[in-house]
Structures are given as C-alpha cells and as structure tokens.
Symmetry: C2
Subunit: 324 residues, 2 copies
Amino acid sequence: MSSIEMIEAAAERLSGHVRRTPILTSPFLDEIAGRRVLVKPECLQHTGSFKFRGAWSAISALDDHTRGRGVIAYSSGNHAQGVALAASRHGIGAVIVMPSDAPQLKIANTRALGAEVVLYDRQNESREAIGEAIAQERGLTLIRPYDEPQVIAGQGTTGLEIAEQAHALDVTKADVLVCCGGGGLTSGIALALESRAPSLRARPCEPEGFDDVRRSLETGQIQNNNASSGNICDAILTPQPGQITFPIIKRLCGPGFAITEEEALRAMALAFVRLKIVLEPGGAVSLAAALFRPDEIEGDAVIVVASGGNADPDIFGRALEFLT
Amino acid sequence: MSSIEMIEAAAERLSGHVRRTPILTSPFLDEIAGRRVLVKPECLQHTGSFKFRGAWSAISALDDHTRGRGVIAYSSGNHAQGVALAASRHGIGAVIVMPSDAPQLKIANTRALGAEVVLYDRQNESREAIGEAIAQERGLTLIRPYDEPQVIAGQGTTGLEIAEQAHALDVTKADVLVCCGGGGLTSGIALALESRAPSLRARPCEPEGFDDVRRSLETGQIQNNNASSGNICDAILTPQPGQITFPIIKRLCGPGFAITEEEALRAMALAFVRLKIVLEPGGAVSLAAALFRPDEIEGDAVIVVASGGNADPDIFGRALEFLT
C-alpha cells in the first residue's frame, strides 16, 4: 500500500508547508561515537516533532468534501499537536480526544493550535467509543498515528531529505538510526531510502522494555510489549508494531536497538551542549544508540533522526544533571 | 573599510564550510509578540554561535604564507571556539589566550577544537602583553573579535541569508533584532541589509547596564559601560562600541534595546519550549526584545537573530524554572 510514489506525492503536497530540517554535526559527538555523526533534528519541525509531516500528508490527501468536514485523532502527545496545526492551516476543524489527566500544558497547547479537545476518563471510558461516536455524528475522518499509508508517506519525506543531504555530504553507506514507536517514521524512511539511497539502511531505536519492534525483527513475528507505560520515552511507547508498518520494517531495516533511560538522558544532555537542540527522551534514543552502542554499528558515518523535542522541563533538568 | 563587496566575497569563502541556519517560527511566539516572529538560530552554527562565520572569514582572507604561520585570539568564550575550529579546519595552528580562572569546560573545549591554550593570571598579567610576545615570536596573526573588517564581513553573511529568507517568506519590511556586544554582528548584518533588503532595519539588543551601543546611538557619541562584568549575558559584555563597528551602526541601525536578565531568561525558556533550541542569555536578548517590548517595534513581522547557545547548564536550569 505504501510506496515511494506515495512518498514523492506527499513531498509535493508538503512543499512550502513543512520545514526542511538541516543536518547538524559536532566534532565532539564524532569523537564519542568513533565515526561521523550526522543528526537530522526533527525537533525543529513545526510543533516540535516529525508528526506534523504525516498529519499534513494525510489531511492534504483527503478530497475537498471529506476534508471540509474535519478530522479527529486520539493522542495526548506529538501526533495531537501535528494534527491540530495541520488541520488549522488547512482551515478545517480538528477534534483531539485526550485523557482528562493529560498535562494541562499539552491540553492548552492542543487547543491553542486550533483544535477542539474532547477529554475522557481514562479509567472508565473508551477513547475509541467516544471518538467513533463523535466522528460518526459529524462525519470526521480519523487520522491514525502510524498505521495509515498517507501518514507513513508523510513521515517518509524525512527519508527523501536524508538521501539528498547524505549525498551532499559524501556519505554513501551508513546506518540511519530512527526513534521508533509504532513504526510510521521508520517504515517511511526505509521506503524512501530503498529507492533513493539503497546503501543507507534504517534501523529502529526503542526504549529498553518497550523494544517490540526489535524483538519482532529478531523473531520475524509481531511481538507485544508487556507494559504500556512506565518509561520516560513516552512519545514512543506503543503496544506492538503496526500491521502496515512492520512488514515494511521487516523487509528493509537492520537490527534494532534497545536504549536505557539513562542513555536517553545522557544523549539529551549531549544534544544540549554540543548541538544546541532540545530533545525529549523518546526523540533522543537514536542519538543514544549512535553515541553509546558504537560496536553495534558499522561504517565511518552514522545518520541519526532526532525525532522530537517536546521535553518536559523537569525531565530536561534531570538530563542536564549529567553535565555537572 | 567594510562593504557589501567584502561580505559577498566572505560568503563565497564561507560557502560549504559554514552552516546556513534556517528560520524558525512558532504560532505561540507570534501570539506573545503580537506579530510574526522569525527566528534565525545562529546557536545551530558550528561551535554554537555566529562567531565561526567571522573567524572563517578572517582566516580564509589571509594570504597562504601569513595564514600558514597560524593565528592568535584572546577570548574565553564564543570567539575562542570559532577561531579554534576555523583554524583547525584550515589545517593551521591557533593560540587562544584565556584567563586561568575560565571554566574548565571552556578550556577543554577550546583545546579539543585543536587550539593551543595559553593561560594567564587575570589579576597580575596582561593578556595583550602575553599575546603580543607570542605573536611576535611565532609570527602569528591576531584575529580581533569584532573591530576587524574581515570579521565584520563574515558576520555580515548572516544578513545576506536573512535578506533571502525574508524575501522567501514575503516579509518586505521589518526590524531585525540583533544581540550586540562589540557590534561585529550588528554592523555586518546592517551592511548586508542596506544593499540587499533596505526595508529591513537592524537594531542592537544589549543587557541592561551594558547598553553602551544603545546609549551611543542616542547621543551620537561612543559611550562606555560603567561595569565590565556582573551580568549573565557574558557573551555580549564589552566596554564600548567598536571604532569600526559604531560608525556603521550609527549610519544604518534603528534604536537599541536594553534587556533585563529576567527577560533574557524568560526568552531562553520560551525558545526551549516553543522552538526546541538552546540559547545562552546573551544570545536570547534579541528574542526577549521581540517578545517583551512589542510597543517599541513596528510592523507585522519581526526578525530575531538568536546569536549563540553556549549556555551553562546551571543558568539554563534557572531559565527552565520560569516554565513551572
């Protein structure tokens, strides 16, 4: 279902609306990693993560009539903000279904980006039931966070940029480390690289204990995580790989990495001091893999997709403690 | 002495070596400022500040023989790192004269960037005397931090990029707020805008109590600061405007801003949460002016040069406290 043609079409729709993020480097990071480290900071994307790409892609792919009725998403995090802003810039309504115990700042942000927030009680209500009722009543289109071909295509535009940027920097062969939750970004990038830069290979990076994609790659079968929360990398905690994303990842990606919370925090601290960017834990596991797992990587360069920067100030403060 | 032709020539020498920084935006910052806020994050430049531009420009402008003998600079901060990396990438030696009580991390960084660090006792020794003796003995060229035409030309390449980027974003008339110490960046940008985008006007931003350029503009005469230290904006504390930079600033710039420490910290916090970039206090005064002095600015857009991100983790932690 997902293909390079869809990614190329998404790139045309995204042009002028999505930020082309640069490649950042530091000789200090190269020294730690023992090779050149090229970081693509998607934290600098609109709304602070790559999610805006997929949201824009999915919304812009709808026909005018369908799009005009509005969209709906379930998320308390980066996907919510991406959908909210992409909808608002298309001049359409967005309903975001969020748990009532989500941080006030996230709720306020999602509203400020133009979305209507519908709160539900995480203990006693089903967000799917609530969302479906609203969607039916108003004729809204559900924008899934990853298992949706147009979302994968949008995230894949990151891979088109990486292929061009790596070529410009004379990097011909390298691993591309990608923070991985449900696998939308990883599968999209893998598809883009397959056709534009086949000697670049995507590899998923996950939190330890939530390494369902890594284990699924090892066994060849979709594996679940035992827990659904309890890790600072909240942006990339998903129960299992997607039904659409996993077959792509299985066909194209190299082995995964399972990163500890401390490694994620240390990578955030190094991104602060060496790259001057803000990463959230779930957006830093790829950099952590590049810096702290050098023996699991081959080649004289590694590409890192730092996928998001919506860090809580307290968690960021914990990361900074590693510098003193 | 400094001219648009020198800036254009510097841009050619810098091409492929210096990062073209993007323009970042956030609807949340637009809301606070009451107009569009376009941020040029020079914190993402090599070594974490715009200083690398001027250093590269000055070193690359030397004739081969002179350059081959090496360069020297006095600085404990951003200029030191810019000169160290630019020299190392030219394959030449750099001596950086630093006070022995400078932070260990800054000394270590400057060494790690390839420079020879010569320490002096700030109380009992003159860095000029020490530097001059070493320079004479080894035939090194002194790279001044701002009152040097080729350094101004290098910083001015930031202005060339702003002119192009503002045009692409349909911003035809706006103030360009620039963090200002000795005035190298401000004067370089002002010269570039004069010829490439004359309806964009540079305006210097300084810390309160160290607003020598603002007061010099008001009186038309070079004014000194009373103090030389005692402000968290250490990167832009200079005793007075430069002899070369001030006449340019006087001819081309709009009125200056004097920013409080708290305003600088609040701007750092907003850059963290809304732009996902790390700013140091002296690199955030321009953003502070855009956000907190809306009545002193005209037009429906404002451009902010966020000049550096080499923030101490403790100071950054203080900024984050404004978010909780």
